[in-house]
């Protein structure tokens, strides 16, 4: 920081700084460095958030659907919570399931990449990242085709009589599978980064101290990778809870809708639904924030807080 402050100071004050002023100007430089980011956040995060909050308290104009006026109408929040409780529950449940499945799939994969892959490591890395080269929505639409009734998966399962409802799309299974698929890389990469950074000697030491493989994993490897696991679960759970693409494309009209879908339909389909949609967005945000706070407090490491 001192070095940065010095160069910044040198540009503005050719005379050279007096010793006592260096510290103060260091502060200014730090603020200047923060400025672009802060400006960005204020412009594209804070202001829209304030606007959204204002909308969430508006009232519809009686008799003129689609027109609103400024108000302090907390009733929107009541509607959001009472009328759409099921959607909130489903969002958290599906996001939780997707996070769990993503973890179960990602941990062995990240482990293999970090310790066993050898020269295949880069290939595996590309395989994990490659899906990002195509749009998330297009990939989900592709899944819709793959899982379609007359697609290969449903046909095989139907022949084996393993598909109770006779179909995969328009079920919660498809939605959770889609969420798991779409957010898997966000789980793999942080866990891989944690494991890859781990000192192999520490893990070897477990064996040297007569711990069997499982005990070493439980007491050494897993704790070492915990920051990655925490980061991965957050990166998966938070966007998955707010996601609406998977439920829209792979789910049904009623029984698998998540909060994101209700927000979308309140905004775009229900005339006069803006305030409730904004209230739903805010409630979801608060809910996730609270859950993440508790979670990180309970399991988190210093590296995250």
């Amino acid at each position: 920081m001192t070095a940065l402050a010095h160069t910044a100071g040198a540009g503005t004050h050719a005379g050279g700084p007096a010793p006592g002023q260096g510290r103060r100007r260091g502060g200014i430089a730090a603020y200047l460095l923060l400025l672009p980011g802060a400006l960005w956040l204020v412009l594209f995060f804070l202001l829209p958030l304030i606007q959204l909050f204002a909308v969430s308290l508006q009232s519809g104009f009686p008799g003129y659907p689609g027109y609103y006026y400024r108000d302090v109408n907390a009733g929107n929040y009541l509607t959001a919570i009472t009328q759409f409780a099921g959607h909130f529950g489903r969002s958290l449940l599906y996001a939780g399931l997707a996070t769990f499945f993503a973890f179960v799939l990602a941990y062995p994969l990240a482990y293999a990449m970090a310790f066993k892959a050898g020269r295949w490591r880069n290939v595996m890395m590309i395989a994990v990242i490659a899906p990002f080269f195509t749009s998330f929505i297009l990939r989900t639409i592709a899944w819709r085709q793959i899982l379609a009734d007359e697609g290969p998966v449903a046909r095989v399962l139907n022949t084996l009589h393993l598909l109770p409802g006779g179909r995969i799309t328009e079920t919660w299974v498809a939605v959770v599978a889609g969420l798991t698929y779409n957010f898997l890389p966000f789980m793999v990469l942080p866990i891989y980064a944690s494991l890859e950074r781990a000192d192999p000697k520490v893990i070897e030491a477990g064996g040297d101290l007569y711990a069997n493989g499982f005990t070493t994993f439980r007491t050494v490897t897993l704790p070492v990778s915990l920051p990655g696991v925490i980061a991965g679960t957050l990166l998966t759970f938070i966007p998955a809870a707010g996601d609406y693409v998977n439920a829209e494309l792979l789910g049904s009209d009623r029984s698998t809708k998540m909060v994101g879908n209700v927000i979308e339909s309140q905004f775009f389909r229900v005339l006069g639904g803006f305030p409730v949609a904004a209230a739903l967005s805010f409630t979801l945000m608060a809910l996730i924030l609270a859950m993440v706070f508790v979670y990180v407090r309970r399991f988190g490491t210093e590296e995250l807080l």
Partner: protein, 407 residues
Amino acid sequence: MTSKPPPADPMLRRLAQLTISRRGLLGAAGLGAAATGLAACAPPLPPAGGPAAVKLPTDRSDTEKVVRWANWTAYLDYDEGTKKYPTLEAFIAKTGIKASYTEDIEDNDSYVNKVAPQLRAKQDIDRDIFTLTDWMAARVIRDGMVQPLDIIHMPNVGAMLEPLKDVSFDPGRTHSITWQSGFAGIGYNKAKVGRDLKSLDDLWADDLKGRVVVLSEFRDTAALIMQQQGVDISNPFTKVQIEKAFAEVDKRISDGHIRRVKGNSYLEDLKSGNALAGIVWSGDLFILRAETENPDWQFVIPESGGTLWSDNMMVPITSTHRKNAMALMNYYYDPAVAAKVAAYVNYICPVQGAQREMEKIDPELAKSPFIFPSADYIKQHNIQGFRALSPAEDAEYSAAWAKVVGN
């Protein structure tokens, strides 16, 4: 302000519930201003709509030779080989106006609710023409979201079919020009269903459970069901009657018979085989048949009747290319051009004289009742237009429908 707005002055309320005419709205505004003075707590007035209150943006058509058109899927002749729209290309070549075309509209609600806040705030939505169904056209015209058109600069439009020339939502066609009209009915894959579907009861047959898609607007789906229940949708019907149709849809969704309720993207479900049949729009099935070269795709008007609707081209209030937009509308009313479009989209062509032009392109299509229906055909098949709803009914039924379809 209290947490809930106090009930407005009953007089004002009654005025608001009437079908709002231009004068009615202004009158309400005037009365409202007086009411606001009396009751300090009454909510502020909404911006008065209607053309009188509208200041048109400066038309830059002469310097900016562009026109940007938002339309529905599969609604303009398209050449798979060149990936272009032949009639649109011809328009560009003829006039030098660069026309861009986007298939933005999935259904009326989602499109208009998305752009309405921008239009009310007078922000450009990057479109100079949008194409909306009658009832939504009524709403955007009433709300002052579209610009008036100069019929005098569109000589071809005189060839519009007589019944379309004077419609209740736009008397004298001062704000909208019909793009196409069509029917809603039953579409299905005959080979996979294995029989002919003739009525809605056939659609609810057990073996089609979970393989049926229906349209997301109640003026299509619920209307067909109302007709089956013996209701005349073109004349005043009661709330009980429409709710009975909603209940039927509700039941079919709950028991899993209806797989999805969708806008224009229902076509994908038919293509992928997730759905074998559904309540659909006439032209789409003919395009599907042509695209897949599969004659098994069938469209029928149910025995109990079908619906007739029109989509209308309008110029959004924020467009600065009104003249170019009118040039494009005028171009598509040239009977030869209209026939080319109709030969592809298979919707009802709104242009007189197009049938003669069609004979040169495809004599078979010139006889198609789905493109050039005769008055007899419409009468025989009990094809009706959904009656105009008052704003209050519109809001009430839309909200009830939104719940039924899971919104």
